[in-house]
Symmetry: none
Subunit: 147 residues, 2 copies
């Protein structure tokens, strides 16, 4: 999956890039979005992905566990279903847009089973950061003819 930038209109509507939609659509007609815990971006995935995470938590802790309580609150309290309209758009909420500082342009970044939605400037910085990080951790990948 690649990185695609789409416009966000005054109502907060964005087209989910066609490539993303194709993967999602026959499985279900809606996706689930929530604020990233550690980054200023929106995360999206299929509902089944969240369900799986939830049942993982349920089986690893008991009904009265405080950890479980916190996690389910965090995940399900923040996540929301976003159905598509007939042209393949979703209507993002104020809360999500604000968290990701998105106003008129949204960048979709594929992450395998999930994807992220960024403000263009923030994504640019984040990508640079990730690249720098990757190079630092894998010196062998660095071009040698540089010098």
């Amino acid at each position: 999956m690649d990185t695609i930038s789409n416009k966000v209109d005054a109502k907060g509507r964005v087209s989910l890039p066609a490539d993303y939609r194709a993967i999602v659509k026959d499985l279900s007609s809606e996706i689930v979005c929530y604020r990233s815990l550690s980054l200023p971006c929106i995360e999206g995935c299929l509902e089944e992905t969240l369900d799986k995470l939830a049942s993982d938590i349920e089986t690893s802790t008991d009904f009265f566990s405080e950890t479980q309580d916190n996690l389910t609150n965090l995940i399900f309290g923040d996540a929301k279903r976003f159905p598509f309209d007939s042209t393949g758009r979703i209507l993002l909420s104020e809360k999500l847009l604000k968290h990701a500082q998105i106003t008129t342009e949204a960048v979709f970044v594929g992450k395998g089973r999930k994807f992220q939605i960024w403000n263009p400037e923030n994504w640019e910085k984040e990508e640079a950061r990730i690249r720098a990080e990757a190079l630092k951790n894998r010196p062998s990948l660095q071009p040698k003819e540089e010098r």
Copy 2:
């Protein structure tokens, strides 16, 4: 799923958010609410969820099941059915409202199989607390999210 704030009128009536209702309604026309054991909020779920909890504990071989048994009894003693009116509202009792310190505004927080109802200010604090906690413990969650 999702967190939604609705008004509580003078009679103690609140609309159950539409998204919540959709999941509940065809299963049964009423939900079950009770005071949270550990937090200043109301918890709600389907009756079948409580039934499942009870039978899970009956068949459990867990060493601590006696403690859980007691907790379950506490919940059952407190729980009460709340039917909807024709517009999808429930009438919360004085006891529940007082426990959650709710007067004019009620915040619904999704938790997957159940949900909580909070006083807005209390929820704000609680959410901040949970987020901070989750960030601290993030390393253990990370592997699951990554994939």
